[in-house]
């Protein structure tokens, strides 16, 4: 049976409610009025409070932990140390690699970074736990530490062969190129700094664990908890209806979660543990510090002949984090010869983690600064040089782009920005003491694809309910799924209730890599389509249905009403129809998994990232693209940089909701401004400790730092990338902002800053 719901699937026929409409965030009112309950706000009977004790050295061993005083302190229920905490099993990593069969202890005896969890105190009240935690005395045998990448002891690190990319003979082509540039670009440790700090409430009932915890990936985290505690996956329930920002940092179950869940098990009481703001700088990893050298050989017309790229990122002593630094370098420009290699260097830090556009972000800082340097070297406009080297296909995968609206982005952005009025000479534009600079840079992010499932129910009152264990951390999942269900079934979005953030719902993969919207709109579309099929099927074939006599083979559902396409039959509300056929609801599950997927496939898909489809799978290379045009004003006496204008044109394919996509893009650009000008974890080299571990000293942009940002969508539907034609939104826009600003600063001042952030002392 075919169902015509007579819609084109964009805002042209559905207003804000349809996919593509500018519906405001449906979770907005709950958040603004405070009725949205975040994870650790649950009120539970018998709740106990855990507080972490962290190492004050960066390297060495715990010699002893004296807990006597803490144990005697008022209200203390338990002091957990490596000796007293229950033993857990090591869990698999996020690829699902079977773990080594050995115990896991979230409290450390061997110290590999300052701020590592060594003990925890659980007490009746939070205040008691805080006070007692200060009484735990830990003594250490300290050993020398490797502070960071610039430490003389750090060495060259470990080559990561999987990161090596090569074609042609890049070295030889560079040696014979008439124009050569070579420079080193560094990015510091950066932190996700979400408003809501990490924390959780864990509660056991028998061998069933419930965890209220902000999460970008309920099913992945539930798997980790299940493996740690050796209970079936089904026994772990994660609940995370609202998340106060994640930016990559809330996708995995972390050691503090293991501590809280262990404490809950040991005490037989629910336990709440929330990190302090300083702990959020060491309790899990931010973006790894990186170093890159980019050499470009070109002819005198600026046509690239060779790119040689070398990258290094830091990782921890016992964890492996690879920040793929050659990811943008290898695809942004056409070059006949290319070589990229990457090493990873162990330092005494927490293992770094994912932060908005891991890999692409620092990678773009290197190549997009270097191409600007090349433009000045050959005397060609920085926009023109990008067009001269435009990659017509993926130079690395040698496949056609699924869609690449980057040329369109350059055109739309430069036009709107007024780029043609730019005078090329550095220091040639000024306003009093302010040197004005205009910079451009491009960005890209791959389309990561995975699978998801959802339930769509049409209820007796005609409303529609969607359930999925996917999440909304502010990016708009609630809203776009409401739009998808509303449009597909044919009801107003007001009549759709979307329930997310509970691992008991149909499953979903990680909300990371900008994949969730594409995955979940696809799953909801399928579930809603089959619910609609059932509804129309009932209306046509159920003898009790007023449409039965019509002998139609199709009906129209729109705006919550059912009628015949020719308008010659009854016209009923969905509720009336369900009433007439005596049904209290219709339910359909939909997923985007390949047909005949086994239960094992499904489990693997939702709890690991192993099943994600490569962005170059099949005949196409799939990416989102953007171009940023940025104006800065640099005070020539003070070296202070202010961003005064941003015009960005972005290709995220089809937008499910332009209002929300624009907001995501702007958020990325704002974060990019912070990265360019402010953000840096500053380490005390003697102690290997981040000293600016709070939001007064780790600076993120304020409203006053952010000018009006204009974003222009240049995308077209890309059906190679997702069911409904969207590409990635969330991570794209931060990529390229920092180099656009650095390039603008060069244009303003004649100084090339290759170390982020561009603070005033670098320009003074």
């Amino acid at each position: 049976m075919t169902v015509h719901n007579m819609r084109h699937g964009d805002a042209s026929d559905g207003g804000a409610d349809a996919v593509g409409g500018r519906l405001s965030r449906v979770d907005g009112p709950a958040k603004i009025t405070g009725s949205a309950k975040y994870a650790v706000e649950q009120q539970l009977e018998g709740l106990a409070y855990a507080v972490l004790v962290e190492s004050t050295i960066a390297s060495g061993k715990v010699r002893s932990i004296d807990t006597a005083e803490a144990e005697a302190a008022p209200g203390v229920l338990k002091v957990l140390t490596p000796d007293t905490i229950i033993s857990l099993r090591t869990a698999s990593d996020w690829f699902g690699t079977p773990p080594p069969d050995k115990p896991y202890c979230p409290l450390a005896r061997d110290i590999t970074f300052s701020g590592q969890h060594v003990a925890a105190v659980v007490a009746e009240t939070f205040e008691q736990a805080v006070a007692a935690a200060a009484l735990v005395k830990v003594s250490y045998d300290e050993t020398p530490s490797i502070v960071d990448l610039s430490d003389a002891k750090a060495g060259d690190g470990i080559p990561i062969d999987a990161m090596t990319k090569k074609w042609g003979d890049a070295q030889a082509a560079f040696a014979s190129a008439p124009v050569r540039i070579c420079a080193a670009y560094n990015t510091p440790r950066e932190y996700q700094a979400p408003m809501e700090p990490h924390g959780l409430i864990a509660q056991w009932e028998g061998d069933k664990l419930t965890v209220w915890e902000p999460s970008q990936w309920l099913d992945g985290m539930a798997r980790t908890y299940a493996e740690w505690f050796g209970v079936p996956f089904e026994n772990v329930r994660l609940v995370s209806p609202y998340i106060g920002g994640g930016f990559g940092s809330k996708a995995l179950a972390l050691s503090h979660g293991a501590v809280a869940a262990s404490a809950a098990k040991m005490l037989g009481r629910p336990v709440r543990l929330v990190m302090t703001r300083p702990q959020t700088f060491t309790g899990y990893g931010g973006r790894a510090a990186t170093r890159q050298t980019v050499t470009i050989g070109a002819d005198r017309q600026g046509k690239i002949q060779s790119i040689v790229h070398r990258g290094i990122n830091e990782t921890s002593m016992d964890g492996m984090w690879v920040e793929p630094l050659g990811s943008v370098t290898s695809i942004m420009y056409a070059t006949p010869n290319f070589s990229s290699k990457q090493n990873v260097v162990r330092v005494n830090s927490v293992v770094p983690g994912a932060m908005r556009a891991p890999g692409e972000n620092p990678s773009a800082f290197g190549i997009e600064s270097a191409i600007d340097e090349l433009a000045y070297e050959v005397g060609i406009d920085p926009l023109e040089i990008r067009l001269r080297n435009y990659a017509e296909q993926d130079p690395h995968a040698r496949k056609a782009w699924s869609t690449r609206q980057l040329r369109e982005a350059f055109a739309a952005g430069s036009e709107r920005f007024g780029w043609e009025r730019r005078t090329p000479q550095p220091r040639s534009m000024r306003d009093g003491n302010q040197l004005i600079g205009w910079g451009v840079a491009a960005g890209t992010y791959p389309v990561r694809r995975a699978y998801g499932e959802a339930i769509v129910r049409i209820l007796a009152d005609g409303s529609v309910e969607v359930e999925s264990s996917s999440i909304d951390m502010g990016q708009g999942t609630y809203t776009i799924l409401a739009q998808t269900a509303a449009e597909t079934v044919g009801v107003p979005a007001d009549n759709v209730v979307v329930k997310l953030g509970d691992s008991r719902f149909p499953r979903a993969g990680v909300a990371g890599g900008s994949r969730l919207a594409g995955v979940m709109t696809g799953a909801v579309y399928k579930a809603a389509t089959s619910a609609l099929d059932q509804l129309v099927g009932l209306a046509i074939s159920d003898p009790r249905s007023p449409f039965h006599a019509l002998q139609a083979n199709t009906l129209v559902v729109a705006n919550g009403r059912i009628s015949s396409p020719r308008g010659d039959g009854p016209d009923l509300s969905i509720a009336e129809l369900l009433g007439s056929v005596g049904r209290d609801h219709i339910e359909a599950t939909g997923d985007t998994m390949p047909a005949n997927s086994t239960a094992q496939d499904r489990y693997k898909n939702y709890t690991t990232i192993a099943m994600a489809l490569p962005h170059t799978e099949g005949d196409y290379s799939r990416h989102s693209w953007c171009a940023h045009f940025i104006e800065v004003r640099v005070d020539e006496d003070f070296g202070t940089v202010r961003v005064s204008r941003v015009v960005s044109a972005l290709d995220s394919g089809r937008l499910y909701n332009p209002k929300l996509a624009e907001s995501q893009w702007k958020g990325g650009i704002i974060m990019g401004i912070g990265q360019a000008l402010l953000e840096e974890g500053i380490v005390d080299r003697r102690h290997g400790r981040i000293v600016n571990n709070n939001l007064a000293d780790y600076l993120v942009p304020t409203n006053a730092d952010i000018p009006d940002i204009e974003v222009i969508s240049v995308g077209i539907p890309d059906l190679h990338s997702s069911v409904l034609g969207g590409k990635g939104v969330g991570e794209l826009a931060i990529v390229g902002v920092a180099p656009a600003i650095a390039n603008a600063v060069f244009h303003a001042t004649g100084k090339r800053v290759r170390d982020l952030p561009i603070t005033l002392e670098k320009l003074i």
Binding site: A131, L678, V683, H687, L760
Partner: protein, 327 residues
């Protein structure tokens, strides 16, 4: 758990008496004190809440000057029409300080008494050595992360920067701190660290700031506060300057000049050498820039804070020139 008592003072005398007891601390807006208690730096045995005392939040501006009650809120003083008219630098110093939320809570008395932002001072668990916290324990900052530390007025014992903006403006205009009956000039109220960095103010136990008095002057009426920082808002100064100027009748010759520096010194820093060098001279850019270099005479850096020595004179010069322009 650390218990402490909380007392809501009913009268000024009761507050002073309660505050004189060992371990007692006055609590005003709490934006410094509660923060420091959370870091484990302040461990009061008793908190004497003075926010309910009547009459201490008045702002009175007369022919002789302004008197600002110790409990007046930063935000109110910044917005006060007469303060803006007679003491623009004071208003500007306040509205460029902290955030709107903090300015709505924080008081003028508490503002003067705010403590340094030295990260080592604020983290006793990780950095036990801090002469300001624990006299004789050493200084963790020297040899460490010093980007925000002072280059003027430092000692071997402590290089912590005084971060307040308001006091910088006050010291430029010879403001006076009222400790009940006792009067101390702002310049004398703040102490250099010397060998006793734990002693920051000329205030005794049981004394309380009751008001700030700022004498009227032509220089104060034509004044500005220029605050330079990486972030446009909600950051302490990398360097700042409070400048007030009075011209002779010719509108060019400098009769009176006031210059104070913030963000670079261990206390609000009056730059008298700059004032002396320019008084009686015609305001002229090169002369102003040359004289401004005197602001950092004797400055000593600790590596990462070297830029402050370059930056501060430029901030001073810009502020003086700006005041010259608006003749």
């Amino acid at each position: 758990m650390r218990d402490f008592s909380y007392l809501r003072a009913g009268s000024l005398d009761a507050a002073r008496q309660a505050a004189a007891l060992p371990g007692a601390m006055l609590l005003a807006g709490g934006t410094t004190l509660i923060d420091l208690a959370k870091c484990g730096v302040a461990e009061p045995d008793s908190l004497v809440d003075i926010t309910h005392l009547k009459g201490l939040d008045k702002i009175a501006v007369s022919a002789s000057g302004a008197t600002i009650g110790a409990l007046a809120k930063m935000g109110h003083v910044a917005d006060h029409a007469d303060i803006k008219r007679h003491f623009p630098a004071v208003s500007e110093a306040l509205w460029q300080a902290a955030s709107a939320q903090i300015r709505n809570m924080a008081t003028i008395g508490g503002n003067l008494m705010q403590r340094t932002r030295c990260p080592y001072f604020r983290d006793p668990a990780n950095f036990p050595a801090c002469n300001k916290r624990e006299p004789g324990s050493g200084c963790s900052a020297i040899g460490g992360v010093t980007r925000g530390h002072a280059v003027l007025g430092t000692s071997e014992a402590c290089i912590a920067m005084y971060p307040g903006d308001l006091a910088t403006a006050l010291v430029a205009f010879d403001a006076i701190v009222h400790l009940g009956e006792r009067r101390v000039s702002v310049d004398d109220f703040f102490l250099l660290p010397g060998a006793t960095p734990d002693r920051e103010h000329a205030i005794d136990p049981g004394e309380m700031i009751t008001a700030i008095e700022i004498p009227n002057s032509a220089a104060a009426r034509r004044s500005t506060y220029l605050k330079i920082r990486d972030r446009q808002s909600y950051e302490f100064a990398a360097a700042s300057a409070a400048v007030g100027i009075e011209f002779e009748a010719d509108g060019r010759t400098i009769r009176d000049l006031r210059v104070a520096l913030g963000g670079v010194a261990t206390k609000p820093w009056r730059a008298r050498a700059v004032e002396q060098a320019l008084k009686g001279k015609v305001l002229e850019p090169d002369a102003v820039r040359a004289a401004s270099l005197l602001a950092v005479e004797g400055a000593v850096d600790n590596g990462a804070n070297h830029y402050k020595i370059e930056l501060a004179p430029r901030v001073v010069a810009r502020a003086i020139l700006k005041m010259g322009e608006t003749a």
